[in-house]
Symmetry: none
Amino acid sequence: MKKITFLIALLFPVLLNAQSGKVMDNLKMDSKILKMERNYAVYLPPGYETSERSYPVLYLLHGATDNHTGWIQFGEVLHITDKAIQEGTATPMIIIMPDADTKVMGYFNVPDYNYEDFFFEEFIPHVEQKYRIKSTKRFRAVAGLSMGGGGSFMYGLRHPDMFSSACPLSAYVGPLTLEQADLSMKRRNPGITDAQVKSYFENYNALNLLAKADVEKVKSVRWYIDCGDDDFLYEGNSQMHIEMRKKEIPHEYRVRDGGHRWSYWRSALPEVLRFVSDSFHQN
Amino acid sequence: MKKITFLIALLFPVLLNAQSGKVMDNLKMDSKILKMERNYAVYLPPGYETSERSYPVLYLLHGATDNHTGWIQFGEVLHITDKAIQEGTATPMIIIMPDADTKVMGYFNVPDYNYEDFFFEEFIPHVEQKYRIKSTKRFRAVAGLSMGGGGSFMYGLRHPDMFSSACPLSAYVGPLTLEQADLSMKRRNPGITDAQVKSYFENYNALNLLAKADVEKVKSVRWYIDCGDDDFLYEGNSQMHIEMRKKEIPHEYRVRDGGHRWSYWRSALPEVLRFVSDSFHQN
Amino acid sequence: MKKITFLIALLFPVLLNAQSGKVMDNLKMDSKILKMERNYAVYLPPGYETSERSYPVLYLLHGATDNHTGWIQFGEVLHITDKAIQEGTATPMIIIMPDADTKVMGYFNVPDYNYEDFFFEEFIPHVEQKYRIKSTKRFRAVAGLSMGGGGSFMYGLRHPDMFSSACPLSAYVGPLTLEQADLSMKRRNPGITDAQVKSYFENYNALNLLAKADVEKVKSVRWYIDCGDDDFLYEGNSQMHIEMRKKEIPHEYRVRDGGHRWSYWRSALPEVLRFVSDSFHQN
Amino acid sequence: MKKITFLIALLFPVLLNAQSGKVMDNLKMDSKILKMERNYAVYLPPGYETSERSYPVLYLLHGATDNHTGWIQFGEVLHITDKAIQEGTATPMIIIMPDADTKVMGYFNVPDYNYEDFFFEEFIPHVEQKYRIKSTKRFRAVAGLSMGGGGSFMYGLRHPDMFSSACPLSAYVGPLTLEQADLSMKRRNPGITDAQVKSYFENYNALNLLAKADVEKVKSVRWYIDCGDDDFLYEGNSQMHIEMRKKEIPHEYRVRDGGHRWSYWRSALPEVLRFVSDSFHQN
């Protein structure tokens, strides 16, 4: 028996190379809140089918003009996560990729489209019941790019009890002025009232949210913020870094070489996986 | 010892399946247009069977005197693509290898053999329905060698709405003169008329096609052209480079050390996979 | 004898790698402008003594409380530059490290201490005549950390005709408000007038300089700006990034993991050498 | 043990010097033919000073707007050649870099500026007598970029008895039409006659020279031609490839990814050194 153990140990590195996770990009659920069907995609870690354990979860949000399949096709979530898990820089986790593709306003509540309510009241319960997910703050993280980076900021700031880490990449932090909010809201929703626009500006602009936030609660989330030096969203992210520093909210902040592109986000993903794993690992 | 062997034998196939793609070289479909059965081969990426996602597709064309099995047997498509996907230089994709082996004229329409019609009207719909393929221009590429390099040029130039990239390798760009066309067509089809020869020369010579093409449409395809310095097809490829530069059509062009040989094409394939993945990745 | 041969054979790989430049940290020159002697240090690239060529030059500025020996002792300029040259990421260059150590105001003109005049009128001519230095803008760069990062910003902004690149690291961009300037100037120079403080604030604050600069001239300098996410100087650097983006002045900007420490600057130096070499190399 | 230490101490300086070549960029000679002084630069291989052997020679020509220092400063000839010799891909050789910087016509004979005569009658004899150079065709090669690529083509075609190899990089093959020649000659030399322009066009256009050349003599030179796919000089080089293939003149031809830039030429130089060494090595 010792020999066998030895032989297997010898084979192990070879065999370990063979481990692969699994992605599904064609899942659906009915939403009562949205009164429509919503798509989503899932990454399951290597060995999910045969293991009998539960896993931490990362909600990974796509950007504008994209959908739930973006992180799989363009973001190489399967290859990158498999590799990070294999190398031990990330812990095995489940990744949930919702579809917020929309002509309206993405991840938030706007008139007749309460996506944020759907996300927290229907979607999270649905997937955390369907898959073997550890359903507590410690084991739940959110990350995303562009509009999904905005989602990560806002979900982390508005729901600090839900996530142990939040990782906005190349984030759209929201309209920088009320005028900008007015313009973009009314273009999409001609019937929207001034009061609704003002409410949206106050609730879905990361700088405004931060200004009125409970600092201790915001500190209970670990933050990883990354936005390239050539990204057109440089201003909002630079301002968030300044304001979080002034409020002494710990956060990792990176500005690397690059713009608003998938090549940037693919090279960000390994660091995001490492960062959220630090919470899951209880370092 | 038997036990060990048994244990390893048991472990091996499962584990090996998890990291390797799969090739099938004995597939068939009936063509109404050609009134015959046509063969084809397929490469499926690692994890295809268990994943529930869809994939981009590369149509990979063989050369004269060869058939749909060439890229598998001589081109090492399985090993090279598995390696590129594992290293992250290529995204998981499905590769379709049709059979245009023929005494007549390969990938194009000639009297009584409308292969091009078959390819676009029957073959693409057949395989894109049979496999989980993303069926839009962005996620579809074509590449090939020699006669199949000609196919890649002509399909890209004549159907720019169908492919996001085209990669002619050591391409036969078509008869360089009407006399050449006349000679070769009449040798194969004694009954062919002069008008038919002239039409063929105009429609299946890449230089002629380029001269009359809608430049903006040709630019919507990304081009990767590679032909060795010892290749007998040097002239047509050099001319295509000159003419595409004069029309300011972006294209990658490589002349490496080598001739019209499988060793050249095997060393070209990783770059082709990387290049088509750049489109699939939305860099 | 065999032993010796063996020993030498063993040493050989080490010796082959052993090409080294040379540093001198005890050089002096008399300044008529400052009416005192000033120290400086020099790095000469491998082969300087035997070659008969001339070299590009990098002026590398130290921070507050330090002097011309800092980049040698704490910054490992010899080891890091030798390695970069050996690996081909940097071109052989001369590095000049002046001493601006001072209880007064570092690299700039303040009452009774016109260091900036000294630097451009006496120091540069002195060293560029003493060593085989190519004395044109293309082949001259400036970099520095903290107070020396401020020097790099101010020298690049005020003397854009002198440098092809400027690389402020963890830069002190100057007092952010007139009040700050007032406080810090008067603490060091009790006799200073309000007008002198105001003039200093306008001439030695990078944001003020940028606001009134000739944008085309500023663009003629290539910029590389780097400041860690834990650095206490985060605000000025973030603001410079925002303002340079708004003025469309190309610049590389990096925020990496770290604070105001030598470990950060040692890991920044290879990139600085690569960046200034890009100008020297005429890529 | 003391002996060993002593021996190593003794060897150290020798060994340190023994692995690096040496460059000089400030050499001069008087030309009777040109009635002026001409600059040049030299690379001497590692160990040149202490060895008592003679070496093969590569004449390495710069491009327009540059001079004899270009291959040293921008081309990294010292680092790249040292590395190639150390790795054994190139044989130790002397590299001579002349200065053809000129408002007139570079490497060729034009009215009142017979540079080609100077080069073959004065310059080669001067340097091959001054340095320990093997002065026969086998051990002499020429390479260059842009205008110096044109020099390499023309010197190889017009003086095939002088060089065992010629390596034009991103070569200007000469005016492609008589009209082009006329325009460029008359702009530089208002007094030039039509006959002189015609003569120049016939003698300094590589395609014309090839058309009338003694093919066997041209074959006695080994050719290495390299021009990037983004280079504006694509047409002349593509045409030279076509015409040399048609005349069955063996030649290596490369089209790599890149334009008319030093980064391209730096990555070409190792291959040039390997290629000319193949002749020097008598493979």
